[in-house]
Symmetry: C2
Subunit: 418 residues, 2 copies
């Protein structure tokens, strides 16, 4: 079973909006055994949408479209689909009742444009959009299926989870093949050296197995994929073999984000963490509490962007800053120890660096970042040079901070176990 | 001049990576007068890449590809392009010297796989990739152009900024038409009501002018676009007219992110801000210091995820939490005032809410968020209900927090002026 996604909206093509939907949809489709073949982003233009539909139907069993379902004039997807599937709009009383109910407490929204939302294509199956006014539409095109849903990410996610994916699963009465992905993460080795290390392994792989290298911010994700050729047991064996090859560099045997890996390590022992951030300015904190359940291990942070905050809230002596500079081992150590003590956590991480574009010097150029990790067994610190672009520097600093903490926790636990 | 982007990589189609490149590239292309017609994401597969190239060349003058240029076996773009343009690989001494220089201090990277990076297609023009080993390649296809660059975002951005965009600008000796976009942002009105308010305006627009509605997190961006039909002066008049129609709801007359608008307001008066965050957990802080120059107005934050931090660092009395609950007007006011005082800033924002999925009650369901704004003229607070999904709730809370602060600053300044 092969699917394609068509995302509809000028905003995607002038760069006003980043398409975060497709990646999420791809993951969900893979999980129920549907391979995503292509993603195509097109304008809110009749001819463009029609051409994309023709092309997608020439290749795929399932076509998913997002966007263009709002009540305003620039949204034309529903009308184009009506034309494409040679049908017309009729009033749907169930959709009408749902919209009435949705805006019960906001009568100002129940205007004539909102009323166009309960006009639906006669030949389409209409699924419930629990959280919005745009109807979810499913069209049949011979044996092929098209499902149309809103482009607003949270509406799309609820539509997919509650309606479209269960609908597609029901259609896939006998899944023809099994898509398998297994990913691990390594650090501390260049991509090309890793590939040389894995030369023999790659040469020995069966033809239905694929290995991909995904480097980002100092981490390389290694992904094994099979599209129907391997059993789960065979996949598990090849994955185990891969792990034994890269064990010295492996930071995780899953594709979980680093903050989830760290959170799981902490939760397993009922331990807690805090951060004191200067150059990363809250990015590390917001990663640590991004996921549900983070209040179990994440206590909080002191974001000391200005030096006065480092002095007053973190107790970094002004003298230390004057002598060593604010981006220094001395300062970052005090920051880490102070936040660990004040917030009364088991661990803490502190960052101080020059994210640029200004502020660099010959000895401490833009991209210089000091990170300290405070633990019940002492504090360590390390200096990194993380590139030249502000966003890249702060992203990479978060990766280094998390990797460092994960490694320290793993070493500690190994010591305890042995 | 019309361009298309082809992003190459299995990781995009299994949902392992979000394509953030295309939106950025689209914006840059628009700025030099090139319209982006379509974005297509394809697998690292020969036939798939070839089919996408054929389709793109049937529609566009310029084709930009990203990805598939790494030294490992899964990256095949260079080989497919060689085949497509009927050429072969040769050693490029300039690229070789550049790579040698790039890895001067990391001899472990100079292995046999890295050496394949200085093999380039004979018929391609090679542009310098200052920060990476993959050569930037430009192919001519009759009057059409293909430029191939790496998919790693920061490498792509430097390649585009320093090489590809100047190259394309030189080709566009006489830009055939002028792409114009003007965007403003409104809040406090439903999308459909806004469209009814603008009915007459839309009916009066000339045929070459387009109006789009982009709702997200409680803000609606209204974008006027013209693809060559209007002069800049005509566009300015229509934009002015649009502003006068929506003045009561307008929060900004640009597409700038809210944190930039707030930062500019603060910088203009040499004023400063701090945050105290519970449910937003650092997201607001990292927005405020995301952009260069933020140290001029952003002092820092206290992220009090755990209640003990609210008590010890923000001085919220335990009694207040016990009486009113941690998500309450009383607590969020103390948080805002305390951080403003401790960090010695002019303004502050505090958030406390239930981001879920657990923690909701009948009276305070998931999505309830209290926000307080402390100013030199007093503190105000407001309660919001921001949906059901964790990410949506915290994103929207940041929007509400920033909008509230912007509005307060604007009112203050109007009072001073009048």
């Amino acid at each position: 079973m092969r699917a394609e996604i068509i995302t509809i909206g000028d905003e995607l093509l002038i760069g006003q909006v980043v398409d975060t939907n497709s990646a999420w949809m791809a993951e969900q489709l893979n999980e129920i055994g549907i391979e995503l073949y292509q993603i195509t982003s097109v304008h809110d233009q009749r001819e463009h949408i029609v051409a994309a539909l023709d092309e997608a139907f020439s290749r795929a069993d399932i076509v998913l479209t997002t966007g263009g379902l709002g009540p305003t004039n620039d949204d034309i997807t529903k009308h184009v689909l009506c034309e494409y599937f040679d049908t017309h709009l009729i009033e749907d009383q169930r959709v009408r009742a749902h919209i009435m109910d949705l805006y019960r407490e906001r009568p100002d929204v129940l205007n004539k444009l909102t009323a166009t939302q309960w006009l639906v294509p006669e030949s389409a199956e209409i699924l419930e959009n629990r959280v919005g006014s745009a109807p979810l539409m499913v069209f049949h095109h011979g044996p092929q299926i098209l499902a149309s849903m809103p482009g607003v990410p949270y509406e799309m996610k609820i539509a997919m989870t509650e309606q479209i994916l269960p609908y597609l699963s029901r259609q896939l009465s006998a899944v023809s093949h099994h898509i398998l992905h297994r990913t691990l993460q390594v650090t501390g080795i260049p991509e090309s050296s890793l590939a040389i290390l894995l030369e023999e392994y790659e040469a020995s792989m069966p033809s239905g197995l694929h290995l991909a290298y995904l480097p980002k911010d100092g981490i390389i994700r290694l992904r094994l994929s099979s599209y129907g050729d391997l059993t789960e047991e065979e996949m598990a064996l090849w994955f185990e073999k891969l792990q034994s090859q890269v064990r010295d560099y492996m930071i995780a045997d899953t594709d979980d984000p680093l903050e989830v890996i760290l959170g799981n390590l902490l939760k397993a022992k009922g331990q807690t963490i805090a951060t004191a951030e200067s150059c990363t300015g809250g990015k590390l904190a917001s990663l640590l509490n991004k996921h549900a359940g983070s209040s179990a291990f994440y206590w909080g942070s002191i974001i000391s962007y200005d030096n006065s905050v480092k002095e007053h809230l973190l107790g970094v002596p002004a003298e230390l800053i004057n002598t060593h500079g604010v981006v220094s081992e001395e300062v970052v150590r005090v920051m880490a120890e102070s936040v660990r003590k004040q917030l009364n956590t088991d661990y803490s991480i502190a960052t101080s660096g020059i994210a640029g574009p200004s502020g660099g010097t010959v000895n401490k150029p833009v991209g210089t970042v000091w990170i300290a990790w405070a633990t019940p067994h002492g504090t360590t610190a390390e200096c990194f040079h993380l590139g030249k672009l502000r966003e890249q520097i702060t992203d990479r600093a978060c990766v280094k901070a998390l990797v460092g903490m994960i490694q320290k926790l793993k070493v500690e636990r190994m010591k305890v176990e042995s």
